[in-house]
């Protein structure tokens, strides 16, 4: 969770309501005893740590630490050499980009609809994402995180939400070190309860589905307005 919007964010159409208390299901203990579904190997079953050692950590954890230290021990006495593979290019493929990758890993945007809930500079106390659309708009790279604004920030993703879109733009160059401009949280009026999911992007219009209803909404990417 990354929180970075604090100032400068315009939140539109977000109302506040009381949070909802939740109880503990009685089946919890029974669920816990079930092994991992479809476990691929004997190691797949979650193992609880063993007896606590004198150091305070369970022996199994200190064993993991020992494994890390075995690698360190193996490094002792060897000459320290720079990484040999650090110049390899990243995701991009042109000659210029590969040359630049000698010093930069090579970032690349992935346009379209992505299944990210954290696709922007907000925390789950500020906005709860469902999925994201991103692509080039007017010489910038526009990112539209669909989801909703929690009506009780203290509950975060466990809070009821008002549907909305967290909108911001980036530099068209994914490796640029600055240039992010946050528009804010956009919502239709009246703002429905629930969260939005982007289901389609066509002709500069996003089709959004409201959770729990199936009601479609439409958002014009260029104008930043809901069209219905």
């Amino acid at each position: 969770m990354k929180t970075a919007i604090a100032a400068g964010v315009t939140v539109l159409c977000v109302a506040g309501v009381a949070g909802v208390a939740v109880g503990v299901p009685s089946v919890m203990a029974a669920q816990r005893s079930a092994p991992a579904s479809g476990a691929a190997s004997a190691s797949a079953a979650p193992a609880q740590a063993g007896p606590v050692s004198e150091a305070g950590w369970p022996a199994s954890k200190t064993a993991a630490m020992a494994s890390e230290n075995e690698l360190r021990a193996a490094a002792a006495g060897k000459p320290v050499v720079p990484p040999t593979g650090a110049g390899q290019p990243g995701a991009t493929g042109t000659g210029t980009e590969q040359q630049a990758a000698a010093v930069a890993p090579g970032s690349a945007y992935t346009a379209g609809i992505l299944p990210l809930t954290d696709g922007g500079p907000f925390s789950s106390a500020q906005f709860v994402g469902v999925n994201v659309w991103n692509g080039p708009v007017g010489g910038r790279w526009e990112v539209i995180q669909a989801g909703g604004a929690p009506t009780n920030g203290a509950l975060g993703s466990a809070s009821p939400a008002k549907a909305g879109l967290f909108v911001y733009t980036e530099s068209a160059d994914p490796s640029a070190t600055s240039g992010r401009q946050v528009t804010g949280i956009l919502a239709p009026s009246p703002d429905p309860a629930g969260t939005f999911t982007v289901t389609k992007a066509s002709g500069g219009t996003l089709t959004l589905i409201l959770s729990g209803s199936g009601t479609p909404y439409y958002f014009d990417v260029a104008t930043g307005k809901f069209t219905r």
């Binding site: 969770m1 991992a36 797949a44 193992a47 150091a55 950590w57 040999t84 992505l114 925390s123 203290a154």
Partner: protein, 320 residues
């Protein structure tokens, strides 16, 4: 704390580290509850370069030398793409391949080792449980990334750096069974534990978990997660440890995160054989709370809930 660090200090030259390094992270050796110096972790950003990674690693070594401490650093590379080939960097849609992640991490480790460290750095290679698919195959993919970096660091002589895995596990990112499959395996693959023997540091949040102290019982968190699920993710499972998010302490109406984590530890104390959680230390973001305030809030909440913990690190994550 300063005395404890000196007593448990790591002799890089002599390299008698196995026992002492484990003890350093044990949460034991409780002396005074004074706050350690702030260690920085990083959201890796699209414009970051290998040169930057090396510089940051070097700066960490110089910091450790000047403060006579070991360090705990997490590099957050964001959510894995569904095919396991890489990640979308945190809070962006910018993609890096695993090879770039490995190279960046190794550069950071090299930067530390090349600046004459007299102490040691734990370097966590971090992802999250965000994304469409969090399953055993992706967990195995990430364990492989961690193993590659650990193996390369060892091969290249970086004896002052220990490499481990890290995950920003949050209820809001996805259901608990998916995260469980990611770590322990499911029908898609063997999980993190199938390809890495290293510890796994959870640097996530406990969204929606109870925020009151003195409960000692299981409870519901966000997205179907429970107190017990969070306990397993930070301590109950063998490889797991935690630098939990303490970004908020009720400020601006947000969660009392210190209370949430104290309650999770209290649950363990009363219901699990491993007992209370021995946290590595709080992770702050410098937004609602300063690193000092996050430490104080967390330390106080743990004390009030009867699960005091001599945390060894105070960490703050940043893009700087």
């Amino acid at each position: 704390m300063g005395t404890a660090r000196k007593a448990l200090g790591i002799s890089v030259a002599g390299f008698t580290v196995l026992a002492s390094f484990a003890a350093m992270n044990s949460g034991q050796a409780a002396l005074a509850a004074s706050r350690p110096p702030t260690e920085f972790s990083y959201y890796v950003a699209p414009g970051d370069t290998y040169a930057r990674a090396q510089n940051l690693g070097c700066q960490q070594a110089e910091f450790d030398n000047s403060h006579a401490v070991d360090s705990f650093v997490t590099l957050d590379f964001g959510a894995q793409r569904s095919d396991g080939a890489g990640t979308y960097l945190p809070s962006t849609t910018a993609f890096w391949r695993n090879s770039s992640i490995e190279a960046y991490s190794l550069r950071f480790a090299y930067g530390y080792q090349s600046c004459k460290p007299r102490h040691a750095m734990l370097l966590g290679i971090g992802t999250s449980n965000d994304g469409s698919v969090t399953d055993g195959k992706l967990g195995a993919d990430w364990g492989k990334v961690v193993s590659v970096v650990g193996g390369d660091a060892s091969r290249d002589g970086y004896r002052a750096v220990a490499i481990q895995g890290a995950v920003d596990a949050e209820p809001g990112f996805g259901p608990f069974p998916h995260f469980q499959g990611w770590e322990w395996g499911d029908k898609s693959g063997g999980g993190y534990v199938s390809t890495s023997k290293s510890l796994l540091n959870d640097f996530g949040s406990a969204d929606g978990c109870p925020q009151s102290l003195g409960r000692s019982s299981d409870g519901m968190c966000g997205n179907g997660w429970t107190t017990e699920d969070e306990y397993d993710a930070v301590w109950g499972w063998k490889p797991n440890e935690a630098t939990p998010e303490i970004y908020f302490n009720g400020c601006r109406g947000y969660a009392e995160q210190a209370n949430q984590w104290a309650d999770i530890s209290d649950y363990g104390k009363h219901n699990q054989k491993q007992g209370k959680v021995l946290f590595v230390g709080p992770l702050d973001q410098g937004n609602c709370l300063s690193a000092s305030a996050a430490w104080s809030a967390f330390d106080a909440a743990l004390g009030r809930d009867g699960v005091s913990d001599s945390m060894k690190f105070s960490t703050q994550i940043t893009t700087k």
